[in-house]
Amino acid sequence: MSGGFAELHDELRAVARDLLAGSAPTAAGGSAGPPVDWSLLAESGWLGLEAPEALDGAGATFAETAVILEELGRAAAVAPYLGTVVLGVGALLLAEPTSARDDLLRRAVAGEARLAVALGDGAADAVPPVPAFRIEATAEGHRLTGAAGFVPDACSAHELLLVATDPAGEPVLVGVVPGRSGVEVDAQPLLDATRELATVRADVVVPADAVWRFADARTAPGRLFDRGALAVACDGLGLGRAMLDATVAYASVRRQFGRPIGSFQAVKHACADMLVQLTVAEELVGAAVEAVVAGDPQAGRAVSMAAAHVGGAAVEVVGKALQLHGGIGYTWESGIHVHLKRAVLDRSLFGSPAAHRRRLAASLAPR
């Protein structure tokens, strides 16, 4: 990444960190922080970073979205960014342009429409996922059926985009409105109070214009999934960075046995290992972001590398932070548990590390 972009990202990062500071769990006594003000995100232009300027977007790339994602992770922020921006806007940008699509995109970018996308059943842990819905041509019209668990941000979404297999076996997007008869959305209880996941069930006849085709049906669902998996890796990187910072700050002031605990090698070396792990994570996330931005056909590999590594590394780093904070870290008030629960959830979202490694194993090629 050249210097110019790096500076731009540093600025974006600083602004985002500032704006999200009030959303951290410690600000709310150790529970999940207050939800991020969605209209503020819209005003900041962060909902439409990747949308073309003609559709009120910033015409930027996933690289900029990634900066926001990492900062959302750092703050363990409560915001339907995954559903609306990463997947929703992402799906619309992969769809064949129509005026309906353009309209929904504009509303999403303006913060008026919140979106959610069902790629498959999250409980299946398939990488890439298998569509959980299908369309049959019936006498009444297009009949949409299926069910998917663990759909991010579906409860608060104004419109659901369900990836479905059409009668020709081709993946399509079906736009449905939650609450409408035949479309059930049930929030799933979660230990991580900063995320929102739901079960979506559909058994409904949809009008023909609710079925949107992908511009490239062969690659689109995979690219959308890669966006999701990479978004979670960005989140994990942010979670880990926040926890290393907190641990270093704590270990520098907390004294035991007559000196700051950070002067003990057991603490110092553990922090050093956290930094190394996060540096490794950063490189893998960076590589995947570049590959996604470039539309690299091998982007899926880069994303799975990032997801496989960061999933576990984030849990380890946050867990080590809890350990090094001692008893304080184990209290609800410290808020570290919020990061830990989010890191543990992240590890299972959009494919477990093991599932991503299985995907990568398929391309191990001796010379």
Partner: protein
């Protein structure tokens, strides 16, 4: 061990098995998940009395006080309780272990007669050792007890007092000689929790539960008769109390990890995913499960040996630290893997049963609460220092002035 004893033991095992089959409440885990504090307390007290009637509540106490099972019998008892997934004695834990061992080791006859029968009748104790500023450095405690004639007046703050909200009495450490070196000048008290000036506030933990409390002590008066051991020798008394907790308790926990813990993990891995696949069919999962099974197997045997060595006086100075460190880490790895392998569905399990051991099948919560083992009671870092210095004789760090 002579064949005769083996036969006796097998007879005892059969007795415990039969008792467990008849007495372990069916479905108690489900029933005790998400219950109120009051229900928890009454369930624990009832279970304690049920065990007491069978002679299983305080098997490690001397026969004269209501115990008297041999170590070998206690091992059998805890193995069978674990195998039958009986509730654990959570509420009475400090009472029957720490309080009793303190009284037996350093208490007066009067103190023993007053409290040991009361404990059997349900008197609940908590431990007032840790302090906010001291952390793992127990010797740095600041709570003071100033003598005025036959009374000590206590001021200070305690943290991590498990079950203090329900406690009738507290084992309290306080500094009686502020001028003495760190580990001297501390005294050990029995504190009646009804004494004026005690303010108990629950601490909410990372899991959302509140098993621990802070205690604020303001001009709390303790009669000198409730001092345990000599004045200013509390540190030495506390060392005995702390070391008393590890042999059989660790064995019980290891047995539970081997039975319930690993068993549930296997069950979780055998549950089909929506696509029909089972984690257990994945050779990578199998490989990891076998690694964990091996570690748990070693841990259980290690605990049996520790108990046997305690019995014969052959336990090394750091054997308990090795067991605690290994248990903590195996528990953390096992629950971590459980959380990973159950995936997203596991994230929806918001509560674990109270009265259970440290693994309940609520994997994410179990994983989070595993830090309750790696941090308190001497963190894993402290255990490694103890093992290195006292076990291997490596030189201490250079002392740093205050």
């Amino acid at each position: 061990m002579s064949p005769a004893t083996d036969t006796d033991l097998e007879a005892f095992r059969a007795e415990v098995r039969n008792w467990c089959r008849a007495n372990v409440p069916a479905g108690w885990r489900g029933a005790q998940t998400g219950v109120s504090d009051d229900e928890f307390v009454s369930f624990q007290k009832a279970w304690f009395q049920q065990l007491r009637r069978a002679g299983y509540a305080v098997p490690h106490w001397p026969a004269e006080w209501g115990g008297g099972l041999s170590s070998a019998q206690q091992m059998v008892l805890y193995q069978e309780l674990a195998a039958h997934d009986a509730p654990r004695l959570v509420l009475a834990f400090v009472s029957i272990h720490h309080a009793a061992s303190t009284l037996l080791a350093a208490g007066t006859d009067e103190q023993r007669r007053r409290h040991l029968p009361a404990i059997l009748d349900g008197e609940i104790w908590c431990q007032g050792f840790s302090e906010p500023e001291a952390g793992s450095d127990l010797a740095a405690l600041r709570t003071t007890a100033r003598r005025h004639g036959d009374t000590f007046v206590v001021n200070g703050q305690k943290v991590w007092a498990s079950g203090a909200l329900h406690a009738d009495w507290c084992l309290l450490l306080a500094r009686t000689d502020p001028d003495a070196p760190k580990r001297r000048g501390i005294s050990y008290f029995l504190l009646d929790m009804r004494t004026p000036g005690i303010d108990v506030r629950p601490i909410r933990q990372a899991t959302g539960e509140s098993h621990f409390c802070e205690m604020f002590l303001t001009d709390v008066e303790i009669p000198a008769a409730d001092l345990v051991g000599p004045e200013n020798a509390g540190w030495q008394v506390a060392q005995e109390t702390l070391s008393a907790e590890r042999g059989m308790t660790m064995l019980e926990l290891a047995e539970r990890l081997g039975h319930a813990g690993f068993g549930w993990l296997l069950d979780a891995c055998a549950r089909p995913r929506p696509d029909g696949g089972r984690p257990l069919d994945d050779p990578v999962v199998q490989d990891r499960l076998v690694e964990l099974e091996i570690e748990v197997t070693a841990l259980r045997r290690m605990c049996r040996h520790l108990v046997e060595r305690h019995d014969t006086g052959g336990a090394g100075p750091v054997d308990a630290s090795i067991v605690k460190l290994h248990y903590s880490e195996v528990l953390q790895r096992l629950t971590d893997f459980g959380a990973e392998v159950v995936g997203l569905p596991g994230q929806t399990v918001l509560r674990k049963p109270v009265s259970s051991g440290w693994e309940s099948g609520a994997w994410v919560l179990d994983f989070i609460s595993s830090w309750e083992w790696t941090i308190p009671g001497g963190s894993s870092e402290i255990q490694r220092t103890i093992i290195g210095e006292r076990g291997l004789g490596l030189p201490r760090e250079p002392a740093v002035g205050p």
